[in-house]
């Protein structure tokens, strides 16, 4: 939809090259979009979240008619629909391409869904997944009369509840929130510069969730190790499983969604007190906004798109030497940092080993022995 720009100046060429895909990516630029009706709470939340996300945040000034969860069925009734998807999705894709952004927060208040925010994540210019939440109990950053952290600092993240590892919706939410709050991807960090913590915790797990055996919602191949490697895989396939569940389990799933625990987001500045040992004792001072969220609708990522999105670049040789990558048998990195392998040879019968010919060491042939016996006293021997 956007026209392809051919760069005419060196500066525009540099700007275009900066948008090329990289191996290690920049933090996601977030666009804050307001819907037709927002309200005081949503406006305040947007201001605070933008302050936490600076400089990788863009705020749209005007209100936009946007409903991300508009499904394609609505648009199929009209005979002339150029885009197969709804126009809201088309708008999101256009804004993402124009601003080189890959994440959206859409704010809207309706009677049915008051103070709603939708987090939308993009991959390759298309919508990957969405989560809608409702904000309750919002306390602004300005209401906390405490010192704030430096904008642009990388935050420490803290997730508290076992549901973030077991329940597919919360796994999805965890991935989305990490992507939102993450700063730059760095290899080393200054220990003095760890200024603030963003803590996301849930309410206590209601007993209904435990009985409905949330584990049954996840695929059988799920394991703790695979979570770290590809956490969203569980979410993506769980959505397929949900549609094919037997009626009893399906109703329990619906019941469970009504009684999901609330999500509490708090931000604190860290105060490092000197303890006797190397590790300082940390005390927290509440800093930033305090939000309580309620999970509403969500759209899980498409399995194929997710597979593409989770592709990693091939491990470089330096990383393999460091010890990353799959453990290969009989190959290891020694103390010097060299890659060493073992070659296994089978059992060798050394007697049958064929070395160099040395006449003196050769065994006498049986035929030769006979001739020696026959010719007694004959010293001249023919050569073999």
């Amino acid at each position: 939809m956007l026209r392809v720009i051919k760069p005419k100046t060196a500066r525009s060429k540099r700007a275009l090259d900066a948008r090329e895909p990289k191996e290690v990516e920049d933090p996601r630029t977030v666009i804050f979009v307001k819907g037709t009706h927002t309200g005081e709470v949503v406006n305040g939340v947007f201001k605070d979240l933008m302050a936490l996300k600076r400089p990788h945040a863009v705020a749209f000034n005007k209100k936009n008619v946007i409903h991300p969860f508009d499904s394609a069925t609505n648009s199929s009734t009209t005979s002339s629909s150029a885009a197969g998807s709804s126009t809201s999705i088309a708008s999101l894709e256009f804004w993402a391409a124009k601003n080189d952004a890959s994440m959206f927060v859409v704010g809207q208040t309706t009677k049915k869904r008051p103070n709603g925010m939708t987090f939308v994540r993009m991959f390759d210019g298309r919508v990957l997944d969405m989560i809608e939440v409702g904000v309750e109990n919002y306390k602004a950053m300005a209401d906390f009369k405490t010192p704030k952290s430096t904008p642009g600092n990388k935050p420490l993240l803290h997730f508290a509840s076992e549901l973030f590892d077991t329940h597919p919706r919360f796994i999805h939410l965890k991935s989305m929130l990490i992507d939102f709050f993450n700063g730059e991807e760095v290899d080393s960090i200054s220990l003095i510069g760890l200024e603030h913590v963003i803590s996301i915790s849930l309410g206590p797990t209601p007993s209904t969730l435990n009985d409905a055996t949330s584990m049954s919602l996840l695929p059988s191949t799920y394991s703790a190790d695979s979570v770290q490697a590809n956490p969203l895989a569980a979410v993506a396939s769980a959505s397929f499983i949900a549609s094919s569940l037997p009626p009893t389990a399906a109703t329990s799933l619906a019941m469970a969604s009504a009684s999901l625990p609330k999500v509490h987001i708090r931000a604190y500045t860290t105060k490092l007190l000197s303890s006797g040992v190397r590790v300082p004792r940390v005390e927290l001072v509440p800093m930033g906004p305090a939000l309580d969220l309620v999970l509403r609708r969500s759209q899980a990522p498409d399995a194929d798109m997710l597979k593409l999105a989770m592709k990693r670049p091939k491990l470089k040789k330096t990383d393999v030497e460091k010890g990353l990558g799959k453990k290969r048998k009989n190959v290891e990195v020694d103390e010097m940092g060299d890659l060493r392998g073992r070659v296994h040879v089978g059992l060798q019968d050394l007697s049958k080993l064929k070395g160099r010919r040395m006449k003196g060491l050769q065994e006498e042939r049986p035929g030769k022995k006979q001739r020696i016996e026959e010719d007694d006293g004959d010293d001249d021997m023919d050569d073999e």
């Binding site: 090329e20 895909p21 990289k22 191996e23 990516e25 890959s102 991959f123 390759d124 990957l128 990388k154 420490l156 993240l157 803290h158 997730f159 508290a160 509840s161 076992e162 973030f164 590892d165 990490i178 992507d179 993450n182 991807e185 760095v186 290899d187 080393s188 960090i189 200054s190 220990l191 760890l194 913590v197 803590s199 915790s201 849930l202 309410g203 206590p204 797990t205 770290q228 490697a229 969203l232 625990p261 708090r266 604190y268 860290t270 303890s275 006797g276 040992v277 190397r278 590790v279 300082p280 004792r281 940390v282 927290l284 990522p301 997710l306 999105a309 989770m310 592709k311 670049p313 990353l324």
Partner: protein, 316 residues
Amino acid sequence: MDVTSILDAQKAKQQNVTVEKETPLEIDAGHLMVSDLNPIDEESYNENLEDHLRALARDGTQALLAALFSLPTQKSADGPLAQLPARTYQLPRQKQLPKPKPPTKWERFAAAKGISHVKRDKKEWDEERQEWVNRWGKDGKNRRVEEQWLTEVKRNADTDHNPQLAARHERKERIAKNEKQHLANLARASGSSASGPSSRKAELEKSIATTRASTASMGKFDRKLDGEKKLRGVKRKFDPAERSVVDEQKSALKLIGSMDSDARKMRKAPRENEEGSVNARKAIRFASKGKGAASMAGGETRGKSSFAKGKKGGRR
């Protein structure tokens, strides 16, 4: 000397900074993230929400800091930098992985010879002038000969020889050569299907063939030049005279099917007609003899009675 009291004090201090939980906290130092997988304590939650959350966060942060402070550090101007390990938790990417570009001709040569890239600066030390001069750009060394007001010329030089123009010409040639090599690299990288000269030759032959047939008699009666190849026509293929009945049946049915289908209809949308009604447009056209509906509105009687048509019809 009583060492036990000192040891106890040390142990107490250590206790201050350690965090004990039922399930140990999972720490992903690469993301600066700590995950507390213990179930939430209901009593503490219901009693005082903010204090409960703060205590939880404090414990998590303490564990995370303990892990971060135990990482190997590097000295730097801003203080010690902790070397973070690789990330365990994977996040989806924003854009697709970059496609590996094929190496350019120079890159291949350099890799083969083992030449590593040396980054050059814009400024160079000029021994003669004892100052830093630009290699290119404003007052650049590359334009020195063109811009200086006096250039020494050899005794046996041509009278027309203009050293300024010669230097400028050289510089432009260098730029053009670089541009040509760059374009060749791009063409190689984009993986053009045909190699340069052969594809150009094919293009030329194609255009010559079209030109030869673009005459009034479609190239049939034109005289051929020496060296021109004979024009190949398209050979028509006919099915053999004897075919199996099944094949014939299939092709006949296919033909009828395509005649019946809507695939090649020009007017796609069906007209909004009631069942069995006439085509109003055509009917009006026939009835009014091409004049239109307006002429039919009470105009017939007038025409027949008053204005008689004919050679000498009409008003006199």
